[in-house]
Amino acid sequence: MIDLAIRRRFRDFDLDVAFRSESRTLALFGESGAGKTSVLNAIAGLLRRLEGRIVLDDRVLFDSATRIAVPTAARGIGYVFQEGRLFPHLRVRANLVYGARGKGDGSGVDFDAVVELLDLGTLLERAPLSLSGGARQRVAIGRALLCGPRTLLLDEPLTGLHLDARADVLEHLRRLKRELAIGTILVSHQPDEVAALADEVVLLQGGRVAGQVPVADFGASHGYRLKHQR
């Protein structure tokens, strides 16, 4: 599903990450500052001055050697940002369909199905800034799905949510995984989130890959620590 090898020098640390995976839901797990979001941004084409190569579903999205860099808008990804990033001047409905314009229904996700899947029916005419954190994140997930992506990128989708909202969004993500056949790359520093959603886990540490394990070996909550005590 993904074959990635990228390098990028930042002011305070170097990102040098390489992994490949055939899993449908892959988690990038690590402490904050490990470079997880940078990898996601690289896949999305939002990271400049990048070196290396990114192949997603047999499609070369980026290759610095042959100067290939598919524009973000054409990468076929749906990105759910940590802070949601809903457009504040558009109502929920307009936010949801923003990326759906002119894309046809190639992905098989239609508006009503997404609204139903994420329980957005009562929110459609609301303003984003009037939504609770959990609802906002569900709208962000719906918006990303409706642009018809081949791969969904989730950046810490549950961080900053209250406990109830967290359980709610997690439940919806589980449902999504069950009902939609869509590749997902999840960034998280929460072991339970990873255990609940991922098939395989890439462990990142200090801008490098520290390990790659099937989720069964990752352990419910302490897998990461155990792995490193060995």
Binding site: A44, L46, T72, A73, A74, R75, I77, G78, Y79, F81, E83, R85, F87, P88, H89, R91, Y98, G99, R101, K103, R126, A127, L129, S130, R143, A144, C147
Partner: protein, 231 residues
């Protein structure tokens, strides 16, 4: 209402037309330049910013003279324009050009601040949703900076409406063609028995200024998209 003579009406209408056309002319260029200054780092950027301020700093009479030298019948640009039958010197269109030049820095400054205030992460989000540069600009940047742009237009309009020095030195004082409100006031000050007219026009310009200020305050106050659940 203030009773006005036909000449005074002419001056008021001309001033409004000159200021509106001037701002409308300057706006597209101001938008482009503000965008450039807000989003790009390039060599000569500081010089460009310094040049931008010139019309605010140089005496308006000098700006007017520069316009005359460039756009006059024998000016470099004026001669070229005349080839297309376009003449701006000593025409109301010249007054509008002077108004555009004088309003331009204020427009660029306000719009640039408005562009700077738009969260770039929202633009990145739109990009991931498949929106190209123009669509991002039209659907994200413009709506989110609309108030700043509108406030800049009001400010530019007020500056253009009050323009005197550059206008009189570029297009002179021709009744019905280039005699704007400030120039009419100046003229009346030099005419015996002109004081009542001066008072009427002064009052009028204060009213326009107050209306423009109020409009700017209304536009700048509050952000309507915060919560519109109650409507």
């Amino acid at each position: 209402m203030i009773p006005l003579t036909p000449d005074e009406w002419d001056a008021l209408q001309l001033s409004l037309r000159v200021a509106l056309v001037g701002v409308a002319t300057a706006l597209p260029i101001a938008l482009a330049l503000a965008w450039l200054l807000s989003r790009y780092r390039f060599p000569g950027r500081l010089l460009l910013e310094a040049l931008l301020f010139l019309p605010l700093i140089v005496p308006p009479v000098v700006t007017g003279y520069a316009l005359l030298a460039l756009f006059g019948r024998h000016g470099a640009i004026g001669e070229w324009l005349a080839g297309f039958g376009v003449v701006v010197a000593f025409r109301w269109t010249g007054a509008a050009l002077a108004a555009a030049v004088m309003a331009f820095p204020l427009l660029v400054l306000s719009i640039r601040v408005a562009f700077d205030g738009v969260d770039r992460r929202l633009e990145a989000a739109a990009e991931t949703l498949g929106a190209g540069a123009w669509r991002r600009f039209a659907t994200i940047v413009l709506p989110l900076s609309a108030r700043g742009i509108a406030a800049g237009c009001v400010l530019g309009f007020a500056r253009a409406f009050g323009e005197f020095g550059a206008t009189i030195s570029f297009v002179s004082n021709i009744p019905g063609e280039t005699r704007t409100l400030p120039i009419a006031i100046y003229e009346l000050l030099n005419v015996p028995g002109g004081m009542p007219g001066v008072h009427r026009l002064a009052l009028l310009s204060i009213l326009v200024a107050v209306a423009a200020t109020a409009a700017a305050a209304l536009i700048a106050g509050g952000t309507p998209w915060r919560r519109h659940d109650d409507d």
